[in-house]
Structure formats: structure tokens, C-alpha cells
């Protein structure tokens, strides 16, 4: 055994309360008292292990120091995967640290040490719950949970997958809880407290498994910590401070029946810390001697207030080694290297000692298979996962394990994905901003920085953002893998350029809409036919005079010819989402359809989507209901929490070469429990094919039969509208009564929306109509989209109807218009290219409470553009007065847009911001006007 006290590992003489070696063995952390705060230091392990590295000045010793804890740090622990470091301190906080990806070396400003931090560790999570000093923290096997214990007598189990979620608070101790250890099998967690008890808790239900008090009843006095430990085979739990016959001991507790028959004796004062070697050993086979089977054993280090350290092998009755007077004060913490041959000990006196054992002394460490075999023997296979390397070959029994395994796989390339890997970190934001180096910026910072005066005449400086925090933050991608919502992405993704005429382009154009659904890997397998069954869909282009279906046909062959001469404008309705959800019944025809789509003008497979306004329900889901007899029953409930405003529905129509609609059933849901299902060709009665529309909500349902094939259906809570192939539009009440006789349309329907009592129809000839079916009046009568479409190549990317019956049409060029029926004009309400949007800054006029008001039709059309503008404003160096002017103009635009959309909450929202902005900037004239308009 070799012993080393690396004097350079110190906290400037202040106590070191905790030490922990990183799982990869390259570094270790210490925690303790800093100058006027708590301190966590990460050290390089190499100079401890090798003398030449210690002498080599090019090898840094100190990697990073963090003085963020406000008071003494009592415990530092690396997560098992080595990505995180948890620290707990007297400031009642647990902090979780992650290596930052984006910055180079820096010093802790103002610290007396001038050493640069070689690695950057950043606090990614602060866990607040304890009401007293945190004494110990412990990561569960596989880092599923993080436990912390405190002098507030509680133990908090944090969900390490979803910080800062608390899984459970374990209450029961009546004294300061000073030590924690997880069962390596993961079934229990044990805690030891000043109340003279050691408690074992089940992780299954977080209830008390056993309460052991007998060995502790004599315990008097207090120790700073009571760090207990569980043996790597899970069979023994060894406590800190216990008493036997008035002598201090470390009590051995057997897993089997929690028997307390054995203890480690010999220390003269209370045992503060016990730490098992992570390895299980077997006797070293001497050369020449016959290999005889020997029982594997464990190794355990015990540290005490008597300043001495003892190392025990469970196969020996006496300690392997006892080292006295290693420190001037109590031993506080012990950590083993992962290979089991090295040991770091820290003391209240502020020093650290390293012990290096040889295999001759400890024995042959079992390899992981052997260790696993032992676990298998004792606990059965399911529990025998102790090492990461095992995980891939182990049966996955629970979601945590699955998650963990995925995480491991994900972490194979952590750097590319998340930038969280400890090695080869690329600075995320380089020292270059807009082509300027940081040095250049610094030279001119004083001149360039934006300084304004607030209303009360104070100087206000807008700081220059030189680096944005990597927002990946705590959670690796897998953790926040809320599936990317198809509906939501569709609205932004699917806008442009699908109007091109070639069918190949169509099939390409469809691709983006696949992506959202295929982001989840296991879903991909459901759609193996993705590339082969490429469904093209057609935009509808049609001149009023052409017979409708012909017009559709002409799309593929004649459009290029037809277009220049035809006055009507191409109108493309973009597939919103899950067009992948191809009906199996029609898939037989699909390959054929596809082939011919590219060659033959006669056939087409048309996919349409309908976006429908839905204002009543939040958190609605679109439920796709499949028809009976479909082989695939993988109908999914699509999580749809965000696009609650715009509820998407899918409509599906396919047409085969013979001109007959395939059995194109589609469903439309108007809220979580309402289904609208359409089935074409339900039955053939005397030569005419009947279609059926089914409506059901909460067990109530009705259906109607229609004489023609249904191409689009839409519904609101009040009405249901159905457009058929024979150019009729039928409107029903929500209870299934026909409201008006079929409306005859000049051309086929292209988009249909219902909202409240309003029905909006967009025809293939780019004509818009909005009716109030309750009052039986037309709000918009056959209004052409020509004014907004002419002169551009844009196509309609989205349309919807607000609750107040205002029709809104978004184009692929990013502009959104609404039709004002009183002025009978098209009004531009949103423009994504608007330069005003880019340069506005009204951030300080927005309060958190405003968030709700900003949701509505206007926000829907403008989307995230607003936040993008704010981002730009931070980085741009637009002169202030210009920016002020632009912001004003923008806000006024928003106000009028909200007004014309009849969106009361949004109007209020923007009016408030507008008013605040005026007040802040001291614009008295307009302020008066603002008051007027408010009144």
C-alpha cells in the first residue's frame, strides 16, 4: 500500500467535508468551506496517481472551482454516468452541476486564487425543498433518483429524470439525517440520523422497511456526518457511528432479516464514514498453488472521529490496515476509485489523503460478469444490473431501465447531439458576433452599447449578449422527448413552394409533413412504405369555367399551359399532418396510383387537410378513429396540447384510375371526445353510391346518409358542414338535423371550416364565403382571393375561421390576411418578412401575466415571429429612436389587427403593452389617444 497526501488539494486551509472520485477516474470533486461561501472544487486525478504528472506544470491540477453555494458544502457526489455532480450544503440547497459546453477558461472573479478554471461546470439545477442544511446526497443506481437528507429530519427523493420534481419526501426520522446509501440492487435506500436510528426504506412504495435502533441506543454525542454504506453485493449494510458495549463500532446489518450480529470494532471514537469498495474480490491465486474455490469477499473502509482510517476485508476477522494520525481532525468522507485499488479520504483539517493498494493486498477484483453472476445468484436476473456495460444485454424490466438504456445509447454521441459530453467540447458561441471578434466589440463597447433614459430620467444600458446559455440545460434529448407535435410543426413547416406543377415536386413537397411523425424512431417502422407509397396531392387549380373534376385533372398536365391564360389563381392546400396514416384498404391501389400519378393525368390521389378553429376545449386531442375491419389497429391518440386553437383534422380522399373514390373514410374530431367519421360508398342503392357521415360525442351519436361522396367535413360545437363531390354543401346542427337545404357551389370545395355558427368555405376557384347559419346570412359572399394572390407565386398555406366569424387566410409567402366584411376589404394582419417585427423591443412592457392575452387568432398567425424579433433586437445595434419608432409602429399594427380580428383578449393584451410602452418612452401625444381608445 502506498500513501500520499497531495498538499495541493486543499481549500486554503478550510475544512473539506466531502470527496468523490468521478466514475471515469480522471477527476475528483471536493466540497467544503470557501472564503465566505461554500466551495466545490474539481481536481485532476492524474497528478494524484502519478508523480511525473504532479511535477509536470502543463498538467492542470485544479480543473474548476465553484463558489456558488452560499454556505459550507457538506457533500459532493458524481452521478453514476459521470455527467452530473450533485452538491448539498448548509444553504439548504442541492445543486446539480453539468459541464458547460460553450465557454473557455475563466477564473472565479474576485477569488484570491488566480488559477483559471480549465473546465467549466455550471449549475444547471437548484433543488430547493429542504428547510435545513443538506448533509448528504446520493444518486440511485442508474441515476434514476437523487436522494438528499437534511437536518430538517427529512429525506427528499428527487426525480433525476425531471428535476426539480420530487418523487417523495421520506419522513420518519426524529433527528438530523446525516447519511444516505442506496442499495446497489435498487430496492432500498438506507438513512442514518442523530435520532439513534438507521432506517431502511423501500423504493417500491417509499415506505419504511425496517427501523434499526438497538445498536445505536447507546450513541451519545454527535458526529458531523453519518455516512453509511451498502456492500456492492447488496448483502450487507454498514452503519456509521454505532455502539457495542460502550465501544464505538460500525454496525454490520445483514440484508437477510436485517440482523445486526456483527460489527467493525476498534475505533476509539465515533465512526463518521463507511465506504464499501465498488469491487467484489476473490483470493489472489498464488503461482503454483492449486486453484481452490474461495468465497468472494468485499472490502470496506471506515473513517472515524479518532482521525484514523481502517480498511477491512469481509474475509478477514481483523482489519487489513489501520492508519492512525493521518489527519489532524476527524475524517469526513471516503471515496474509492472505480477499479477498487485507490482510495481518497478527506478530513475536517482541510487535507486529503490517497491510498493506493495493489492486487496482492486486496485480491483479484471480480470482473463484471462474475459480479453479475453473484447478483444473479442472489437476486435473480432481473435485479442483476450493476454496471452500465451490462445494461445492453439485460432484460429491460421497467421504463426506467429502458430510458436509461436509451440514454446510454444516446450518450454514445453526446457531443454532437447535446454538447454535454465531457470531452471535446466545442464552444457554442465563439468569440465572434456578427463577424466581429470579441476584442473588436470590446474596443467599441462603450460607443456601441445601447443606452437609453427611462421615463424618470435614469440611465438604462442594454447589455451586449456575448453568449447565450446552451438551453439543452439539464435534460438530454431523450428526457424531453415530448414528441414533436405534428400539427404544430405543420403549420410552420408546410407553407411554401408546394404549388409547383410536376408531380415529382409534389411528392417531394409531401416529405416535410412526414418528418414530424417520424421523429419518434419506433413510429418509423409503422410506415415502411414511406418511400414507395409516395402520395402526391394536388393543389387545386381551376378556372371557373372548367368542369371541376377536369380542372383537377388538368393540374398535372396542363397547368403550365393553362396558367398564364387563366385568370384564376392556383390554390394549394397544404397537407397538414398524418397523411401518412394511409388507410390500408386503399393501399392496394396506391402503388398503381403513384405510378400513374407521375405519368398519367387521369389519376390523382388527393390529400386534403382541414384546419378548424376550435375555441372551446383546451388540451384537446385529435383522435383518429379507424374503421372496422382495418387490419392495423394502431390508431393513436395524438397528443395535441398546443394547437388547441387550431384544431387540425385530416381528411382523406383517394381516387383511383377508374374515377371511383376508394373507400375513403376519414374522421374529423372537433374535440377530445367528438368524432366525425365519413365513410364513402357505404352501400350502393340502385346504382347510386351512398356516403355516410357519423357523428359521436360522449356516447351520443347520429349519422346521415348523403347521395354523393363526401370530400370535406368540418364541425364546431354548434354545426357540422359537409361538402360533397357533387358540389353541394350540407349543414347540420350538432344534433344531426339538417339546417338548410344543400347549398350548391359553383366549383368543388377546397377548404371548409366551422366555428360557432359560422361556416367558411374556400372553393377551388379561390373564392371565399362565410355564412352565419343561425341567422342565415352571408357575412362574406363569394369574395375572390385574387387581390391577395395576384402578383405573387404564393399559395394558400393555411386558413381558418375565428370564433367571431372572421375568415383568415395565410399564404405561403408568410403573409396573413383576414377579410373584413364591413369594409369588404382584405386586410394584412401578419407578415413574417415584416422588418418592423425584427426590430421591435417591447420586452420590458410585457409581464408574465400577459401571456394569456397574447393567445388568439393573431398570435396563431404570427406565431413565434414575435420572439424572434425580440431576439434580433438584443443583438442588433439599431439606434434607439429608430427602434422606438419601429416598436410603436409595430404595436399599433398589432392593435389594429387584433381589432379587425375581433379578438378581444388580444386587443387588450396589445393595448396594455402599447400603453406601457408609451408611458415608458414618454410619448405624451399618443398616450392621450390611447386613453381615448381605451375609453
Amino acid at each position: 500500500m502506498k500513501l500520499l497526501k497531495p498538499s495541493w488539494v486543499n481549500h486554503n486551509g478550510k475544512p473539506i467535508f466531502s470527496v468523490d472520485i468521478h466514475p471515469d477516474g480522471t477527476k475528483f470533486a471536493t466540497g467544503g468551506q470557501g472564503e465566505d461561501s461554500g466551495k466545490v472544487v474539481i481536481w485532476n486525478m492524474a497528478p494524484v496517481l502519478r508523480e511525473e504528472d504532479e511535477r509536470n506544470e502543463n498538467i492542470p491540477k485544479l480543473l474548476c472551482q465553484m463558489d456558488n453555494h452560499l454556505a459550507c458544502v457538506n457533500c459532493v457526489r458524481w452521478s453514476n454516468n459521470g455527467l452530473y455532480l450533485a452538491s448539498g450544503g448548509d444553504d439548504k440547497l442541492v445543486m446539480v452541476w453539468k459541464r458547460a459546453a460553450f465557454i473557455g477558461p475563466s477564473t472565479v472573479f474576485g477569488s484570491s486564487s488566480k488559477l483559471a478554471n480549465v473546465e467549466q461546470w455550471r449549475c444547471v439545477m437548484i433543488l430547493r425543498n429542504h428547510t435545513g442544511d443538506v448533509m448528504d446526497v446520493a444518486w440511485s443506481p442508474h441515476d434514476v433518483w437523487l436522494a438528499s437528507c437534511s437536518v430538517d429530519n427529512t429525506i427528499v427523493i428527487w426525480n433525476a429524470r425531471k428535476f426539480p420534481e420530487i418523487v417523495m419526501t421520506l419522513k420518519g426520522h426524529t433527528g438530523l439525517v446525516k447519511g444516505l446509501t442506496w442499495d446497489p440492487v435498487g430496492k432500498y435506500i438506507a438513512s442514518q440520523a442523530d435520532d439513534r436510528s438507521l432506517k431502511v426504506w423501500r423504493t417500491m412504495d417509499w415506505q419504511l422497511e425496517t427501523n434499526i435502533t438497538k445498536p445505536f441506543s447507546e450513541c451519545g454525542g454527535t458526529t458531523h456526518v453519518l455516512r453509511l454504506s451498502w456492500s456492492p453485493d447488496g448483502q450487507y449494510l454498514v452503519s456509521a457511528h454505532a455502539m457495542n458495549n460502550s465501544g464505538p463500532t460500525a454496525q454490520i446489518i445483514e440484508r437477510d432479516g436485517w440482523k445486526t450480529n456483527m460489527d467493525f470494532v476498534g475505533h476509539r471514537k465515533a465512526v463518521t464514514v463507511v465506504k464499501f469498495n465498488p469491487k467484489i474480490f476473490k483470493k489472489k491465486q498464488k503461482n503454483g498453488s492449486t486453484p481452490k474455490p474461495s468465497c468472494p469477499y468485499c472490502c470496506c473502509a471506515v473513517g472515524s472521529k479518532d482521525r484514523s482510517l481502517s480498511v477491512w476485508l469481509t474475509s478477514l476477522k481483523r482489519p487489513l490496515v489501520v492508519i492512525h494520525d493521518l489527519f489532524d481532525k476527524s475524517i469526513m468522507d471516503i471515496t474509492w476509485t472505480l477499479n477498487g485499488l485507490g482510495l481518497l479520504v478527506c478530513s475536517m483539517d482541510g487535507t486529503v489523503a490517497f491510498l493506493d493498494f495493489s492486487q496482492d493486498e486486496l485480491g483479484d477484483p471480480l470482473n463484471e460478469e462474475e459480479k453479475n453472476a453473484i447478483h444473479q445468484n442472489i437476486y435473480g436476473k432481473s435485479l442483476a444490473i450493476t454496471m452500465e456495460s451490462q445494461l445492453s444485454s439485460t432484460i429491460i424490466e421497467n421504463p426506467e431501465m429502458l430510458k436509461y438504456q436509451q440514454e446510454r445509447q444516446g450518450n454514445q454521441n453526446p457531443n454532437e447531439a447535446q454538447g454535454i459530453g465531457p470531452e471535446n467540447q466545442t464552444p457554442k458561441l465563439t468569440n465572434v458576433l456578427n463577424g466581429e471578434s470579441l476584442e473588436d466589440i470590446r474596443k467599441n463597447l462603450l460607443k456601441k452599447q445601447v443606452e437609453t433614459r427611462t421615463a424618470d430620467g435614469r440611465r438604462r444600458i442594454t447589455p451586449l449578449c456575448i453568449a447565450q446559455l446552451d438551453t439543452a440545460d439539464f435534460l438530454p434529448a431523450l428526457f424531453n422527448s415530448v414528441p414533436i407535435l405534428p400539427g404544430s410543426s405543420a403549420s410552420t413547416q408546410l407553407t411554401p413552394q408546394i404549388s409547383s406543377d410536376s408531380s415529382t415536386a409534389n411528392s417531394l413537397g409531401l416529405r416535410p409533413s412526414h418528418d414530424p411523425t417520424t421523429t419518434s424512431p419506433n413510429k418509423t417502422s409503422h410506415f415502411p412504405s414511406l418511400s414507395t407509397n409516395t402520395f402526391s396531392f394536388s393543389g387545386l387549380s381551376c378556372s371557373g369555367t372548367i368542369e371541376p373534376m377536369k380542372a383537377l385533372d388538368s393540374r398535372f398536365t396542363e397547368r403550365s399551359k393553362a396558367m398564364p391564360g387563366v385568370t384564376s389563381v392556383p390554390l394549394t392546400i397544404v397537407v397538414l399532418w398524418f397523411c401518412l396514416r394511409v388507410k390500408d384498404s386503399s393501399s392496394v391501389k396506391e402503388p398503381k396510383g403513384k405510378d400513374e400519378t407521375s405519368s398519367d393525368s387521369e389519376d390523382k390521389i388527393m390529400v386534403k387537410s382541414i384546419a378548424k378553429r376550435k375555441g372551446e376545449m383546451e388540451g384537446a386531442e385529435v383522435v383518429e378513429k379507424r374503421k372496422k375491419g382495418r387490419p392495423r389497429k394502431d390508431a393513436k391518440t395524438m397528443p395535441f396540447p398546443q394547437v388547441t386553437f387550431l384544431l387540425s383534422k385530416d381528411a382523406w380522399i383517394s381516387k383511383s384510375t377508374d374515377g371511383a373514390f376508394s373507400e375513403g373514410g376519414f374522421t374529423v374530431s372537433t374535440d377530445g371526445v367528438t368524432y366525425l367519421e365519413v365513410e364513402n360508398e357505404v352501400s350502393v342503392v340502385s346504382g347510386s353510391r351512398l356516403s355516410q357521415l357519423k357523428w359521436s360525442r360522449e356516447g351520443r351519436e347520429w349519422d346521415v346518409l348523403l347521395p354523393s361522396r363526401i370530400i370535406i367535413a368540418a364541425g364546431s360545437s354548434n354545426v357540422v358542414a359537409v361538402a360533397c363531390e357533387d358540389r353541394t354543401l350540407s349543414v347540420f346542427t350538432a344534433c344531426g338535423r339538417r339546417l338548410i337545404p344543400s347549398i350548391i357551389l359553383p366549383v368543388p370545395m377546397s377548404a371548409l371550416h366551422c366555428s360557432g355558427h359560422f361556416v367558411m368555405a374556400l372553393t377551388a376557384s379561390a373564392m371565399l364565403s362565410v355564412w352565419d347559419v343561425q341567422k342565415q346570412t352571408a357575412l362574406v359572399k363569394n369574395e375572390s382571393l385574387n387581390p391577395i394572390l395576384s402578383g405573387t407565386d404564393a399559395t394558400v398555406s393555411q386558413s381558418f375561421l375565428t370564433q367571431q366569424g372572421v375568415a383568415v387566410v395565410s399564404l405561403s409567402n408568410g403573409k396573413t390576411y383576414c377579410f373584413n366584411s364591413s369594409l369588404e376589404t382584405w386586410n394584412l394582419i401578419a407578415d413574417k418578412q415584416d422588418s418592423l417585427v425584427q426590430c421591435t423591443d417591447f420586452r420590458n412592457c410585457v409581464s408574465a401575466q400577459d401571456a394569456l392575452g397574447s393567445m388568439g387568432p393573431l398570435a396563431l398567425t404570427q406565431g413565434r415571429n414575435l420572439s424572434a424579433g425580440r431576439l434580433a433586437s438584443r443583438l442588433s445595434s439599431t439606434p434607439h429612436h429608430l427602434q422606438q419608432g419601429m416598436t410603436l409602429a409595430f404595436l399599433e399594427k398589432q392593435l389594429s389587427s387584433a381589432l379587425i380580428l375581433l379578438s378581444a383578449s388580444e386587443y387588450r393584451h396589445w393595448l396594455l403593452i402599447y400603453a406601457r410602452f408609451l408611458v415608458n418612452e414618454g410619448e405624451a401625444v399618443r398616450e392621450g389617444q390611447c386613453h381615448c381608445s381605451q375609453g
Binding site: S37, N68, H69, L70, D91, M95, F109, G110, S111, C123, I126, R442, L445, L446, R459, R460, I461, T462, P463, L464, C465, I466, A467, Q468, L469, T471, L475, N480, G487, S488, G615, E616, E618, G619, Q642, V643, T644, F645, L646, S717, N718, V719, A734, C735, Q803, Q804, N844, S847, A848, Q849, A851, L852, S854, M855, G856, A859, G863, R864, S903, A904
Partner: protein, 197 residues
């Protein structure tokens, strides 16, 4: 834990004539978006004897402060010499940079400042009335004294709850594109209101 960490303060234009403005280039990191501005102050300690002679040279609001690393230059005019005791004009004093958030000071950075005449003759025989035009100010930039204070970074509890109630889904895990949120309950009709039609 403090949401704002001061990473560096570079003392610009140092040493410089006494009447030159102070310039500090401050780099700080913020862990999350701050809803309110930071307030920075430069305080010149006129006399070590008494706080009475402390002068706030300037105070400035800094914002908006989103999460990330930021820098700015804080420039403030030289102290009003009329307020400095004549006996303390030459020699060592202190300049303080403080930062407050919601009215609570969380960091105080102190620098020693040495004011001395550059002219050896004046240095030997300083005039009774200090000649500020000849004084040079030298800030001991290499040795800042940093004191940190624990403050409450959050708004009052009540306010926090409010914002939580109002804004139910600032869910960072969702893509920003999908944030339109929920529809306002305008003109909301009970679902069954049409049943009588």
C-alpha cells in the same frame, strides 16, 4: 443561489488623470431571464474615516437581461472634488461597484484606488490644497475584493403564484413553434346549446 454571477470586471482607462470618468467593463452571466433590470452603482469612498463622504458617482439600470453571458461598460464621472476632504484627496481610497436586483444588493466589488501626483516634485511637497489636475488615479485592478450577499431573487410568493396560474404552459421542453396556446374563452357557448335547434 445567485442568478447573476459577475465573471469579470475590466478596469478601463487605468491609470488615468483624476478627472477622467471611471470606466468598468463588466461581464456577467445570468442563469435565467430576469424580468426586472439590474441596478449598478459606482460609489467613491471620499474618506476612509466616514461613510459620510461616500459619493454615488452614478447608477445605471441594465436590462433586459436574458439568460446568457453579457457585458457592458459602466462609465461614471469622476467624483465631485468639493465633497472630498482635502486631507484624503491624495493617498489610498476605495471605489465600490455594487449591483442590486429588486432593491437588494447581491454583490459588492471593491477596488483600492491610489491617487498620487505624477510630478516627483509635487509628490515630495504636496500642496496644501490638492491640485486635482495633477493627480493621477490608479485603480488596483488586479485585486478586487468581492463580497456576495444572499438575496431573494424571486418576486414575492404571491406574485409567483399568480404568474403560475396565468401562464400554465411555459413548457421549455416544447418547441417554440407550437406555443400559440389556448384559445381565449370568448363567446363561449355551452356545448349543448344547439341541441334545441
Amino acid at each position: 443561489m445567485a442568478k447573476v454571477q459577475v465573471l469579470n470586471v475590466a478596469v478601463l482607462d487605468n491609470p488615468s488623470p483624476f478627472r477622467n470618468p471611471f470606466q468598468f467593463e463588466i461581464t456577467f452571466e445570468c442563469m435565467e431571464d430576469l424580468p426586472e433590470d439590474l441596478e449598478w452603482k459606482i460609489i467613491y469612498v471620499g474618506s476612509a474615516e466616514s461613510e459620510e463622504y461616500d459619493q454615488v458617482l452614478d447608477s445605471v439600470l441594465v436590462g433586459p437581461v436574458p439568460a446568457g453571458r453579457h457585458m457592458f461598460v459602466f462609465q461614471a464621472d469622476a467624483p465631485n472634488t468639493g465633497l472630498i476632504p482635502e486631507s484624503d484627496a491624495v493617498g489610498v481610497t476605495v471605489v465600490l461597484i455594487t449591483c442590486t436586483y429588486r432593491g437588494q444588493e447581491f454583490i459588492r466589488i471593491g477596488y483600492y484606488v491610489n491617487n498620487e501626483y505624477t510630478d516627483p516634485e509635487l509628490r515630495e511637497n504636496p500642496p496644501v490644497k490638492p491640485d486635482y489636475t495633477q493627480l493621477q488615479r490608479n485603480i488596483l485592478a488586479s485585486n478586487p475584493r468581492v463580497t456576495r450577499f444572499h438575496i431573494n431573487w424571486e418576486a414575492t410568493m404571491e406574485k409567483m403564484e399568480d404568474s403560475e396560474n396565468v401562464d400554465p404552459a411555459p413548457n421549455a421542453m416544447l418547441p417554440p413553434t407550437s406555443m400559440p396556446g389556448k384559445a381565449p374563452p370568448l363567446g363561449l357557448m355551452p356545448d349543448n346549446s344547439m341541441d334545441c335547434l
